[in-house]
């Protein structure tokens, strides 16, 4: 072999190897690019240097403050585009950027105008930032420019109602998403601190998603703190934290907020107790599993299958059930309702395991198949497990079908993961008198399934009406009260004109009997302790307007009011966005009022008061335990033992990962995790080699 041939052969080998090496490198880049990308050019590499989350759970409201530092690793200025899922029921109330070392608070303006202002600055390389709700499931944050090698610090804060079910409260910090198709991790520190305050004593707290990564401390029985800190933290999974109260908080509670220069706001929380304690049995269930292609993302179908299996295991002997899988056509298991037996439960499990996600989503035909099961003398619970990613046209027809539903039927919707059409699933449930529930992929599915099941077997209070005596209460949200379910609080927001005593009465009907809940409250003339309920009132109003408009098929008539509420209460919606400009002069130039800055000042004062109260409790706990056993705060925590991520866990054991071991809940095919295809390929090679050997021997 001459030298040139040898060189050519060597080059070919090395070239092939280099190609594979490049692919390996590009594979890792995809993973690292995550939710943060450099937009508007030929790409670029950005890092999330730090990601800090600070959460306060108080008065049934979760306030989440996220501070992030982005870093541009390129030698040119880039535009950062950071995409993150819309947290359930979240009202984004603050977006700030650090410009020239100073925090600049964003202002809310109409969406198109905000985009126009942002784009006008880009050619001048000033420092605008934009936060907008792209659609029902995604927020986008844009920052331009981030200079070569520079860092940019941003902060956002959002409010949401705390998810409470009976005696368990759950907080989810959503990160898992397929919006950009890849995961992200921090280059530096990731930290999450949760302060949970409750008027009912807290019995225990745990993280179903990151059980061992959190340090959880009970400073006293009304205040627990959870902290997590790691380097190179994984931003591809939700953080879930749940705490159990010593008893459910039942009855009717009222809190208020009253600025000095405008009417006040109140929030009444009603949770039923003994009124809904009786259990119902002998009901019919139609479990409908969405097996359309979109359910393959994030293993939604696998978890939904397990959810239905968990439900069917809890059914009673006098219940009947049917299982329907659907994509563009429904496929029923039994072709009718059947009594619950162990054999049928196993049959259902096999039927579900055989389903794979493919095809489109035709919700209407599946619902029609379920409604055909309805019988006049029995209650039919239609339990949908779907992501609701259906066509808009299908949506209108679907809602019309729900309005004409058979008597005694209700629709319950369960959405798994963050890429879920919450608006549609909530609307389906609300319009039928049912409930919608959304479960994080990182949460304990069994616990959530049991909680949901409790709502089905206990009666609901229906035909609720609300009455206020005194206080000049107006603009109540929700305008029409939904059914009240076991363990689920009903939150009512309203405005009031006059300070002084008021009596709130909620009346309803439980199994044909009238029930009533009454509470007396003294509405204050001034109260700055709970400003969050002002935004929650406005946010609920915006949501109601949008839902009503969607039912009618057009948002045109409500957009102006939604924009007015968004701007007045500093809320990012699908029609309003946050814009951050370099200085006060730039805001003046665009005639943008600094309303958010004023609100933020008031919010911060209230949060500082709460922070001082919590600090006092911590100090007392330290004194009680002695210095050596002081409850750790985040700053007290030792550095992580290793540069490890906060890892997700299930309830069944420690976290595990394998290159060939999926999260997927595939049917057991008998192959090893290398897979039947790999085993078959190896077998073919061996057989070929044996045949070749025999041939050579001959």
């Amino acid at each position: 072999m001459n030298a040139s041939t040898s060189l050519t052969r060597s080059s070919r080998y090395l070239g092939a190897a280099a190609l594979v090496a490049v692919l390996v490198w590009s594979g890792s880049t995809v993973r690292g690019a995550g939710l943060l990308i450099a937009d508007g050019g030929l790409g670029g590499v950005l890092e999330i240097q730090e990601h800090h989350v600070h959460v306060t759970l108080n008065n049934g409201v979760a306030v989440t403050e996220v501070t992030q530092v982005f870093r541009n690793t390129e030698n040119r200025p880039v535009e950062a585009l950071y995409t993150f899922p819309v947290p359930k029921g979240a009202s984004v109330a603050d977006f700030s950027m650090w410009i020239n070392g100073q925090e600049m608070v964003g202002e809310v303006v109409e969406k198109a105008r905000a985009r126009q202002v942002y784009e006008s600055y880009k050619p001048r390389r000033k420092d605008p930032g934009l936060l907008e709700q792209k659609d029902y499931k995604t927020f986008e944050m844009r920052i331009f420019p981030i200079g070569p090698g520079a860092e940019q610090k941003v902060r956002l804060r959002y409010y949401q109602e705390l998810e409470v079910d009976d005696d368990i409260a759950t907080y989810v910090y959503p990160l898992s998403t397929t919006t950009t198709g890849a995961r992200a991790a921090t280059a530096g520190r990731l930290s999450l601190t949760v302060h949970a305050r409750s008027p009912v004593p807290i019995a225990s707290m745990e993280s179903p998603s990151h059980r061992e990564a959190f340090v959880i401390v009970g400073h006293d029985d009304t205040y627990f703190q959870a902290s997590l800190e790691s380097r190179r933290g994984d931003l591809g999974r939700d953080f879930v934290l749940a705490y159990r109260l010593t008893r459910p908080r039942t009855g009717l509670d009222v809190i208020a907020s009253k600025p000095s220069n405008e009417d006040g706001y109140l929030c009444a929380t009603l949770t039923a107790g003994e009124e809904l304690a009786a259990k119902r049995s002998g009901m019919d269930y139609a479990f409908i599993l969405d097996v359309s292609g979109s359910m393959a993302e994030e293993n939604k179908i696998g978890l939904s299958r397990r959810g239905i299996a968990a439900f069917t295991e809890t059914l009673g002997a006098d219940d009947r059930f049917e299982v329907i899988a659907f994509n563009v056509v429904p496929q029923a298991l039994f072709s009718g309702l059947r009594e619950v037996t162990a054999g049928r439960q196993a049959e259902a499990a096999r039927f579900l395991a055989a389903q794979t996600a493919k095809g489109g989503t035709e919700l209407r035909s599946a619902l029609a198949a379920a409604y055909r099961l309805a019988e006049p003398d029995r209650t039919l619970n239609v339990v949908f497990l779907s992501d609701g990613l259906a066509e808009q046209g299908d949506r209108q027809a679907l809602l019309a079908m729900i309005r004409q539903r058979p008597a005694g039927s209700r629709v319950f919707c369960i959405g798994v993961g963050n890429d879920v059409n919450r608006a549609l699933l909530e609307q389906m449930a609300e319009d039928s008198g049912g409930l919608a529930s959304f479960i994080s992929l990182s949460d304990d599915l069994q616990r959530q399934a049991e909680a949901f099941r409790r709502k089905l077997v206990h009666p609901a209070a229906s035909e609720l009406t609300l009455n206020f005596e005194g206080g000049g209460v107006y603009d109540v949200e929700p305008a029409t009260l939904p059914n009240l379910y076991h363990g689920t609080p009903l939150r009512i927001y309203a405005r009031y004109r006059g300070a002084g005593p008021t009596t709130i009465t909620v009346r309803g009907n439980v199994n044909g009997k009238d029930v009533a809940w009454t509470a007396k409250a003294d509405l204050p003339a001034k109260d700055d302790a709970n400003p969050e309920i002002e935004r929650m009132w406005a946010w609920h109003r915006v949501q109601r307007l949008l839902k009503e408009a969607d039912r009618a098929g057009s948002r045109e008539s409500v957009v102006a009011e939604v924009v007015r509420l968004g701007e007045a209460y500093s809320i990012a919606t699908e029609h309003t966005s946050f814009i951050v400009l370099e200085n006060d002069g730039e805001y003046k130039r665009w005639a943008i009022e600094r309303r958010s800055a004023l609100r933020l000042q008031r919010d911060r004062q209230a949060r500082e008061v709460l922070a001082r109260q919590l600090e006092t409790i911590r100090d007392k706990a330290v004194a009680r335990r002695g210095a050596e056993r002081a409850a750790p705060t985040l700053s007290d925590l030792p550095p992580p033992e290793a540069p490890a991520t906060a890892s997700p866990q299930t309830n069944t054991g420690p976290p595990r990962a394998s290159s060939d071991s999926p999260r997927w809940n595939w049917p057991k095919l008998g192959g090893g995790p290398v897979g039947p295809v790999g085993v078959a390929f190896a077998a073919v090679l061996v057989v070929a080699e044996l045949l070749r050997r025999r041939k050579v021997h001959r």
Partner: protein, 224 residues
């Protein structure tokens, strides 16, 4: 070591057997691969074996560096182990018969897989399995065959390689398995391990073949 006669592929190979029965000779690489197989079975049979030897990020950082290597011997149950080791044994046998030297791919593949999981899969606190090494042996076999075959046969091997790369890239990018497998739900896919193993195997074969062409590696050493 005796030079084996050339085959129709222009390489030394198993046709040497046609000349008559050779005495059984166990090479060090064969013994090493057999030892890996036995060790893996023993680890699986020992109830705490897998947990004691798995790739555990925190424990590695705390000084238990051997877990970088021993993690490949640990599995998530007998089906997992059987599939991994079955494929491992089959590929190693074929690769050894078709040129030898596969122990290098096993060694380098093991290191590459561990390094990739440690460096590029920070979300993986723990890792078990030989499949990354299987990918290395597969890559080694493919590049070796492509180098010695021409025309359609080489194209067929390259197609298989391209399909494997496509699968692994998909799994790395999405975190989901492309083909059916059968492990518990709480086990995540770390596709980068397969890609790293494949790259290490291909690179090992390429360097080895290039060195053979340059004469720095004797052909007899590659004869089975």
């Amino acid at each position: 070591m005796t030079q084996a006669p050339a085959t129709s592929e222009g390489r030394s190979g198993p046709t040497a057997l046609a000349a008559g029965k050779r005495p059984l000779r166990l090479r060090w690489s064969t013994l090493a691969l057999a030892a890996i197989l036995v060790a893996t079975v023993l680890v699986q049979a020992w109830p705490e074996g897998a947990a004691a030897l798995e790739f555990d990020r925190r424990k590695i950082a705390a000084g238990q560096w051997w877990r970088l290597v021993s993690g490949h011997l640990a599995h998530y149950g007998w089906p997992h182990m059987a599939a991994d080791m079955g494929v491992f044994a089959a590929l190693c046998w074929v690769a050894e018969r078709r040129g030898g030297g596969v122990a290098w791919a096993v060694a380098l593949g093991g290191v590459a897989v561990s390094a990739a999981v440690y460096g590029w899969a920070p979300e993986a606190d723990a890792y078990r399995g030989m499949s990354g090494v299987d990918s290395a042996v597969f890559g080694y076999l493919v590049v070796t065959r492509v180098g010695r075959l021409g025309g359609l046969k080489a194209a067929a091997w390259l197609t298989v390689l391209a399909l494997a790369i496509g699968r692994f890239v998909f799994e790395t990018a999405t975190g989901r398995p492309l083909l059916p497998t059968s492990l518990p739900d709480d086990i995540a896919v770390i596709g980068i391990a397969h890609l790293a193993g494949l790259a290490a195997g291909c690179l090992t074969a390429a360097v080895r073949e290039a060195a053979a062409d340059d004469g720095t590696v004797g052909r007899a050493a590659r004869a089975s």
